[in-house]
């Protein structure tokens, strides 16, 4: 079983040249940085906030903050990692405002008992995503990731969706490398467990062939929301 390949970010030197030009006051260079990373920032923000308007705000606020603080950026790390750090903080602030009754932090005391031990071991259908329409699949994936605590889903999205390295994720979230690794493992296992309910191979004659297709996605038990935060 091969290792997962990560997306590779663009050349760092080119990025640094844009940053240096932007620092000198070249707004078109900054605009190029916006073009380069706006989609990533939006994805990250929506994964964390689970709200589209909040994600739009986060994109604007994160780039504005980056622009206003460009002189403070030391160029010892990648601009993108620095930008992600700003965006994650903005997104968490949005989440806190929306859910003031809960503590929303990446350092929250996440349950220490082993909540990630696999219980559903069933194998998946060969092409599980093809059992669903694109819209159904998006809803399943969105609700499933929504059920993870923010600290888990943030690590998962940075590492596995955006392709940051463990060290870059740790730097962006101001977490230790072991903390990132531990959260990533638990996030991956919890998502796998929840997706198994939709994607597991059905034996002919069990009355449920074709997976959960035909059932209303909304009724499935992934919408447990933030109950485990």
């Amino acid at each position: 079983m091969g290792a997962i390949q990560n997306k590779v970010a663009g050349p760092v030197s080119e990025e640094m040249a844009l940053v240096q030009a932007a620092k000198r006051g070249d707004d078109s260079a900054f605009e190029e940085l916006v073009r380069r990373y706006d989609r990533n920032v939006f994805r990250i923000a929506q994964h964390i906030t689970q709200n589209r308007e909040d994600a739009e705000d986060v994109v604007q606020e994160a780039f504005l903050k980056a622009y206003g603080n460009l002189a403070q950026f030391q160029e010892q790390s990648k601009f993108y990692t620095w930008l992600v750090r700003i965006a994650v903080n903005e997104a968490l602030m949005k989440l806190r405002r929306r859910k003031p009754e809960r503590t929303v932090s990446l350092d929250e005391d996440i349950k220490t008992e082993d909540d990630s031990l696999p219980r559903e071991i069933a194998d998946w259908s060969p092409n599980p995503e093809q059992q669903y329409t694109q819209a159904e699949l998006r809803e399943i994936l969105s609700k499933t990731i929504q059920g993870l605590p923010p600290g888990f889903r943030t690590v998962f999205v940075l590492r596995d969706v955006e392709g940051l390295s463990t060290e870059e994720t740790a730097a962006a979230l101001e977490l230790s490398v072991p903390a990132v690794k531990s959260r990533l493992l638990r996030a991956r296992l919890q998502l796998r467990e929840r997706l198994t309910r939709y994607f597991q191979r059905r034996e002919p004659g069990d009355g449920r062939s074709g997976g959960a297709r035909g059932e209303d996605v909304k009724d499935k038990d992934v919408a447990s929301g933030d109950s485990n935060q």
Binding site: M1, G2, A3, I4, K7, G25, D27, F30, E31, V34, R35, D38, R39, F42, R43, Q46, H47, A55, E56, V59, Q60, F63, L64, K65, Y67, G68, N69, A71, L117, P118, I121, A122, D123, W124, P128, E129, L137, R138, L141, S142, I145, F156, D160, V161, G163, T166, K181, L184, L185, R188, L189, L191, R192, L195, T196, F199
Partner: protein, 85 residues
């Protein structure tokens, strides 16, 4: 190797960052433990499904609007000075 030991190394295994000796031990475990094989395989598929899902893509029209709003505010910020962000 026990299943719990396998699980604790699963993330490093999927990321391809294990030394050869540990990797061989894990693959030996995978060769006879069907449950761990399934967990490993479906975890890998979980990651791939999310990565390929294009969940939360930014539509082009919204993207242009956001970018021009950002650049307008940046220019206002430059005119007003560094305290305004």
């Amino acid at each position: 190797m026990k299943c719990s030991e396998f699980l604790s190394e699963l993330t490093s295994y999927l990321d391809g960052v294990l030394d050869e000796k540990t990797k061989a031990e894990l693959e030996n475990h995978l060769s006879w433990c069907h449950n761990c094989y399934v967990v490993c395989d479906t975890t890998k598929k979980t990651i791939e499904i999310y990565r390929d899902s294009q969940l939360y893509e930014l539509p082009e029209d919204l993207r242009s609007r956001l970018r021009s709003a950002i650049m307008t505010k940046c220019q206002q910020h430059r005119k007003r000075g560094p305290q305004s962000v």
